[in-house]
């Protein structure tokens, strides 16, 4: 089917380019590392305080790191006017959107998985039992962020001051994802039973579904003449 | 041009009238008389509002039935109050409140019939000023902008009359 082939080609292209330069991933990783260090300097934390704040710190670091990756996602298409060729390609625009979202999602999720051990190390977290649920939470929240983020990355790439406008437009809309991700992560880290925070995971799922569908339809209007 | 300014003069006039009426209403019905003024120059028998605190250990009578006597303090000044009115849970010892009643200068007793809540009228005034001024200024600026645009379009030599409701008419 041309639809799924298009998705596959876009993901393939993004992954290969990234693998050759490692530009996006390395800048995301370094930025996140600095964020973690700054946080640990600014709050000199003991174990209890860490447990209260760590969920928020994790998601602030992940979100800002994600915005760096999302910003790069479409600026790379500006080289040699590649955005133009995507615009006039006969491939379905929704498939291009899904491909880009999948690539962004993979970048963000792998950075998160690489970073999380550092959080555990620096903030002395106890995570053995919670790893499974944390992975689910990371998966869903990152999906939500990349679904909306890819749409806004495409929207801001052709305007002035795009580096500023992406977070300005994206962060207010990401409030539900942030709240749900922080609450669920806090629940998982403090060892609460799953039913205590399962509603946040439901909220994340609902958000993911709604915004993937909405962005899928709206993306066509961005790459429109 | 003149039409716009007469309209806005009218609006400003009505707003000012409302403001004056509100201020008068406040002066007559809502402002409290300082207790010192009440004691030094007691007004003739019309009802006044005073603000103060119920002195502890002086409250007597049946508050639930709407009858009580207590000492009422406002800074250095104090006076004796006889309350007779609707039953209220508002009268408690050490409670600050507003009393509405008459000063009986013969018996040196304040006969209160009503109580009221303490209100900071500054907040109400601020809320109204912010919204009325904000909205009014915005609408005025917009109407003026339309006028200026009409003028500019007319003055640009390429003016052509636009025969629709959004364009120039008059």
């Amino acid at each position: 089917m041309p639809f799924f082939k298009t998705i596959r080609w876009v993901v393939w292209k993004d992954l290969i380019s990234e693998w050759r330069t490692r530009e996006t991933m390395s800048s995301m990783l370094f930025f996140a590392l600095i964020v973690i260090l700054v946080f640990s300097f600014s709050f000199s934390m003991d174990q209890d305080a860490a447990r209260q704040l760590i969920a928020g710190i994790i998601w602030v670091a992940f979100t800002f790191t994600g915005i760096i990756g999302l910003g790069k996602s479409f600026t790379s298409e500006l080289q040699n006017d590649c955005l133009e060729s995507l615009q006039m390609s006969p491939a379905p625009k929704g498939a291009i959107y899904l491909g880009k979202t999948a690539a962004n999602f993979l970048f963000m999720l792998s950075v998160e998985i690489l970073l999380f051990p550092l959080f555990v190390l620096f903030f002395n977290l106890d995570v053995i039992e919670a790893v499974g649920t944390l992975l689910i939470i990371f998966f869903l929240a990152t999906l939500g962020l990349s679904a909306v983020g890819t749409l806004f990355s495409a929207l801001t790439v052709q305007i002035r001051a795009r580096e500023v406008m992406l977070p300005v437009l994206l962060l207010p809309l990401a409030v539900p994802v942030m709240i749900a991700a922080v609450e669920a992560t806090r629940g998982a880290l403090s060892g609460d039973p799953f039913s205590f925070y399962s509603q946040w995971i439901q909220l994340l799922t609902i958000f993911d579904i709604i915004f993937t569908v909405v962005s899928f339809w709206l993306f066509e209007f961005i790459l429109d003449s | 041009m003149t039409g716009l300014y007469t309209r806005w003069a009218l609006i400003l006039g009505v707003t000012l009238l409302l403001a004056i009426l509100t201020f008068q209403h406040y002066q007559q019905h809502l402002a409290t008389l300082p207790m010192g003024t009440l004691l030094s120059s007691p007004p003739s028998s019309q009802p006044v509002r005073i603000q103060g605190m119920v002195k502890s250990g002086t409250l007597q009578g049946e508050v639930e039935q709407g009858q009580a006597t207590f000492e009422f303090v406002d800074g250095p000044a104090s006076l004796v109050v006889e309350y007779e009115g609707p039953p209220l849970e508002n009268i408690r010892e050490l409670k600050t409140l507003v009393l509405i009643g008459r000063w009986d200068s013969q018996n040196q007793v304040f006969k209160a019939q009503e109580t009221a809540l303490i209100n900071n009228f500054g907040f109400v005034a601020a809320a109204y000023l912010v919204s009325v001024l904000g909205l009014g200024w915005m609408v005025f600026a917009m109407s003026q902008r339309v006028m200026v645009l009409f003028k500019e379009i007319k003055e640009s030599k390429l003016y052509e009359p636009e025969a629709d409701s959004l364009g120039y008419k008059e």
Binding site: P2, I16, Q79, N80, C82, M88, S89, A91 | -
Partner: protein, 224 residues
């Protein structure tokens, strides 16, 4: 069927009008060269035909398909070679071809790709990243793309820029091949000498109006 049929087409940016009321036809097998001074709207017209911009008024059809309403069908049969090479810097020449054709729903075999690259004279650089390509090599790679895609209508924006003598010869040869398989070429250029070698018809866009030139007029000096 008419390859390009333009019917009283106008384009304005905001209220600044680029051109107005253009009407012309291009038939299959023709190579139409559009001349004109800078800022006359040549590239804008080309981009409208490439469905990258919407016209302000008027319609155009490409092989009978409406250029605004049936954009997706039109996009399957046209191809544009523009100033930007539409190539990804980190991919090799072969991978770029695979990606570009993959989005068009085609899957060329490695020998086909090799042949196309050889034809455009860059077969030796098949596995080199585009980052190391010169502007002329990128342009040749774009032509290799059209060899594989075989579009019915080829749109060229200043095709002779950044090309050496051999490149110009290959370009004209590829245009000729496109014409031979009953494809149509529409190009904008200001390089009259090179264009008139291959163009069968032309036009000058100037002051918002188009003046059509027959093939005889193309070679006479008086009109320019």
């Amino acid at each position: 069927m008419i390859a390009i049929q333009v019917n009283s087409l106008s384009k304005a940016y905001g209220f600044y009008r680029i051109f107005e009321d253009l009407s012309f036809d291009v038939h299959p097998g023709e190579c139409f060269a559009l001349f004109g001074p800078n800022g006359a709207g040549k590239t804008t017209l080309l981009r409208i035909l490439a469905t990258l911009q919407a016209p302000s008024h008027g319609q155009f059809t490409i092989f009978g398909q409406d250029g605004v309403a049936q954009k997706d069908t039109v996009r399957e049969i046209i191809m544009l070679i523009a100033h930007g090479s539409h190539l990804y810097d980190e991919l090799s020449a072969t991978e770029n071809l695979q990606f570009a054709l993959g989005l068009r729903g085609q899957a060329p075999s490695p020998p086909q790709i090799k042949r196309a690259l050889d034809r455009t004279g860059i077969g030796a650089f098949a596995d080199l990243k585009i980052r190391q390509f010169s502007a002329g090599m990128k342009k040749r790679l774009d032509f290799a793309k059209t060899i594989l895609a075989q579009p019915q209508l080829l749109l060229l924006d200043e095709p002779y820029n950044a090309l050496d003598h051999a490149g110009v010869a290959i370009t004209n040869q590829l245009i000729q091949e496109t014409l031979d398989r009953a494809g149509t070429v529409f190009m904008t250029t200001h390089d009259r000498d090179k264009a008139t070698q291959i163009a069968t018809r032309g036009g000058i866009l100037k002051g918002g109006h188009l003046h059509l030139l027959s093939s005889e007029q193309l070679t006479t000096d008086a009109i320019f």
